[in-house]
């Protein structure tokens, strides 16, 4: 047993962190929210070059994976930098297409996903909206045991996080039907939960780091506000939440990589814990930044707004908790 990332995995995370830090990500988020996808797609292309999407795609379709653990490492960094777009959905769609057993669809889409050319939406059964349907090349919609593919959607709805653009998928042609679809959708949901959890964790880490910086500099009553206990204790609790969510995320990645029977429950546990920890980090960041935290000019706002939707995407905490106890 060695429950620690390898040096290679850590290096990969550092590389992505540096790449995203140098890429003007906040500007890409703001453009994305305004409906201009160009900077976001450029970012996406750089991530593809670094190998991120290839990790979701099996070797026979031009990828390196599927490697849930490495994907998780990457998604923590994507979350840390609040990268916009249907990242989780595209990775989960890759898993879905691979497992569903339709060779034609797999051959058509998986190499493009690996190369970063295709943004793919995925709507699980019961989900009303597709994320970023106005930016995706296609959307896969699962209803019962059927999956459709569509390129059209209703109007983009104003949303809590304007950089997560929500629209109803419309129409579509049936790709496949039957138990293989259901099984593939279940697996894709587990992976999507894991990667959403990873994003929430990275987002929370960034919010905590930014807030620690702020409270170390901002003074009131003649001293740094970070020396006040009420401030310190809230940040300590934020760290505890994130620290104890992280191993759940890695363990879920291992379970998915091994196709373990516990994978569904572990992904749900990771999602519930990391989603809550990321959201708590956002609440803390907002509070401890004072009014600065409530304005949208600082980039902080981009992170704060993402926390709640990430907590609820791919299964609310209540759904995930129910899943944990389902076996």
């Amino acid at each position: 047993m060695r429950f620690l990332l390898t040096d290679e995995q850590r290096d990969f995370a550092r590389t992505l962190d540096a790449l995203l830090g140098a890429s003007g990500t906040p500007a890409a988020v703001r453009s994305w929210a305004a409906g201009d996808h160009k900077p976001g797609r450029d970012l996406w292309a750089r991530l593809a070059e670094a190998g991120v999407f290839a990790l979701a795609v099996p070797e026979e379709h031009g990828g390196l994976g599927p490697l849930p653990l490495e994907l998780t490492v990457a998604f923590i960094e994507l979350g840390r930098h609040a990268v916009p777009g249907p990242l989780v959905e595209t990775a989960a769609a890759a898993a879905f297409l691979h497992r569903m057993g339709d060779a034609e669809a797999a051959t058509a889409w998986l190499p493009r996903i690996a190369a970063g050319d295709a943004l793919v939406g995925l709507c699980p059964d019961g989900a009303p909206f597709a994320l970023d349907a106005d930016a995706t090349d296609t959307v896969l919609v699962v209803r019962d045991d059927t999956v459709c593919r569509t390129g059209t959607h209703g109007p983009v709805q104003p949303a809590l996080d304007p950089a997560r653009r929500l629209a109803r998928p419309l129409g579509g042609t049936v790709l496949a039907r039957g138990p293989a679809v259901t099984a593939a959708a279940r697996h894709a949901t587990d992976l999507a939960r894991l990667l959403t959890a990873a994003q929430a964790l990275g987002l929370g880490r960034a919010l905590l780091a930014g807030t620690v910086d702020h409270v170390g500099q901002r003074t009131q009553f003649g001293r740094a506000i970070g020396s006040f206990q009420a401030v310190k204790h809230r940040l300590a609790d934020t760290l505890i939440g994130l620290e104890f969510a992280q191993p759940l995320v890695y363990a879920a990645a291992l379970a998915l990589a091994a196709d373990a029977p516990s994978a569904g429950a572990e992904a749900a546990a990771a999602k519930a814990a990391a989603g809550e920890a990321g959201y708590a980090a956002a609440r803390t960041a907002l509070q401890l930044h004072g009014a600065v935290g409530y304005t949208d000019e600082p980039d902080l706002s981009l992170w704060i707004r993402k926390a709640r939707p990430l907590r609820d995407a791919w299964g609310t905490p209540a759904e995930c908790r129910a899943r944990v106890l389902a076996e």
Binding site: F3, Q9, S227, K232, L325
Partner: protein, 390 residues
């Protein structure tokens, strides 16, 4: 990264499980916080020790099995899963022994560790004083130099199990006028039945009599019972404190087993429509798993030669709050039966929740309060400015 047990670890687990299945008493022992329970638990320590299960991670020469940290965690998981008795020797085994391994002389190790491993000598921790809890360095009990040793004077309090224990270890002020309160302290061991020691039991919240305060009136301690250098007691003690908050005091097995029992209780008793209660059960299960995994990560780091510092404060806050959540949720599931003591005629089948709840409430207080731990986390792990003091 992996969570796979090696063949040796799997074999160790099987061996531990088989031994526990054959030896764990069928009926729970009486509470170790009572005189009769204390004696019964001391016998249990001896039974564990006879087959070298009392201190698995120690070197074989002191009665251990040279088990790795992972094997120790495995043993603890099996121990709690088997519903085995609480460990009356835990203060000595978890707090004093690691200190001796780090700072003790070979003579001290040879003399102290064997009888500790068998339960023949049960140790109490004598750190706190009525005026020195969180601010431990403000302690006032003194150690005064005398021929061949020291005279201890003063009062210690809230010493777990000291009413029935044999010996104690604690910190004493040996130099009265140092610039900082952390200096001039000496770490000593002393017998609780020595001339000059008065042990007065203090009932805890549960009324049980094992907790005690100690009055020390010129108690003689020979030089051979000083741990580390005289005057260096703070440094010696802090290595113990790290153990207390971190891994060794609260291994994950205890919470994993409680989470299993809670899930079973929920399946048997809960109204499926009560999703609020279901969410709390799930959170407790998730929390226990998170603590287990976090510990595996720490153990992996330790196995590679890192040491745990202020990180142990993360553990302390997490396990103490988790323990309360587990037990409060169980009491809610039990409804009217949650109000019964564990030894009531009509106490519920999955016993132990009442005692467990009462004890869990102390978690955020002992081993350094959670407020103090949060200060440590904020200052040492997050690098926030120190509090204004004085």
């Amino acid at each position: 990264m992996d969570l796979d047990a090696s063949a040796a670890d799997a074999a160790f687990r099987d061996e531990a499980r088989a031994w526990l299945a054959a030896h764990v008493p069928a009926r729970p022992l009486p509470s170790l916080e009572t005189r009769a329970g204390f004696a019964a638990h001391r016998d249990w320590e001896a039974e564990l020790a006879a087959d070298r299960w009392s201190v698995v991670s120690w070197p074989a020469e002191y009665g251990g099995r040279d088990a790795s940290l992972f094997q120790w965690l495995i043993f603890e998981e099996e121990y709690y899963a088997a519903g085995a008795p609480g460990r009356v020797g835990q203060n000595g085994i978890n707090l004093l022994a690691p200190t001796l391994f780090e700072h003790g002389t070979p003579e001290q190790c040879a003399r102290v560790l064997g009888p500790m491993a068998t339960g023949e000598v049960v140790w109490a921790q004598a750190w706190s004083e009525p005026e020195a809890g969180s601010d431990l360095a403000s302690l006032r009990a003194t150690a005064v130099r005398t021929a061949g040793g020291w005279h201890l004077r003063g009062q210690k309090t809230w010493s777990s199990r000291a009413a029935f224990a044999d010996r104690a270890f604690g910190l004493f002020r040996s130099q009265p006028d140092t610039p900082r309160p952390h200096q001039g302290l000496t770490y000593l061991m002393f017998p609780l039945d020595a001339p000059g020691v008065t042990v007065r039991p203090i009932g805890r919240l549960d009324g049980k009599p094992a907790f005690a305060e100690l009055f020390l009136d010129d108690v003689f301690v020979p030089d051979t019972d000083v741990i580390g250098e005289p005057g260096q007691g703070w440094r010696v003690a802090m290595s113990t404190a790290g153990n207390e908050r971190g891994l060794t005091l609260r291994s994950p097995g205890r919470f994993s087993a409680a989470a299993e029992r809670l899930t079973a209780l929920w399946r048997e008793t809960a109204d499926p429509a009560d999703t609020a209660l279901r969410d709390r059960v799930a959170d407790a299960v998730i929390g226990a798993r998170a603590y287990q995994l976090f510990t595996y990560a720490n153990a992996s780091r330790l196995a590679e030669g890192s040491s745990l510092g202020a990180e142990s404060s993360l553990n302390k806050v997490f396990w103490s709050e988790l323990d309360i959540a587990l037990h409060e949720t169980a009491l809610d599931l039990l409804g009217p039966y949650g109000a019964l003591a564990d030894d009531a005629d009509e106490a519920p089948a999955h016993g132990g929740w009442a005692d467990g709840w009462t004890f869990s409430l102390a978690g955020p207080v002992y081993a350094g309060t959670n407020e103090i731990q949060r200060n440590i986390i904020a200052e040492r792990l997050l690098g926030l400015p120190k509090e204004a003091r004085g």
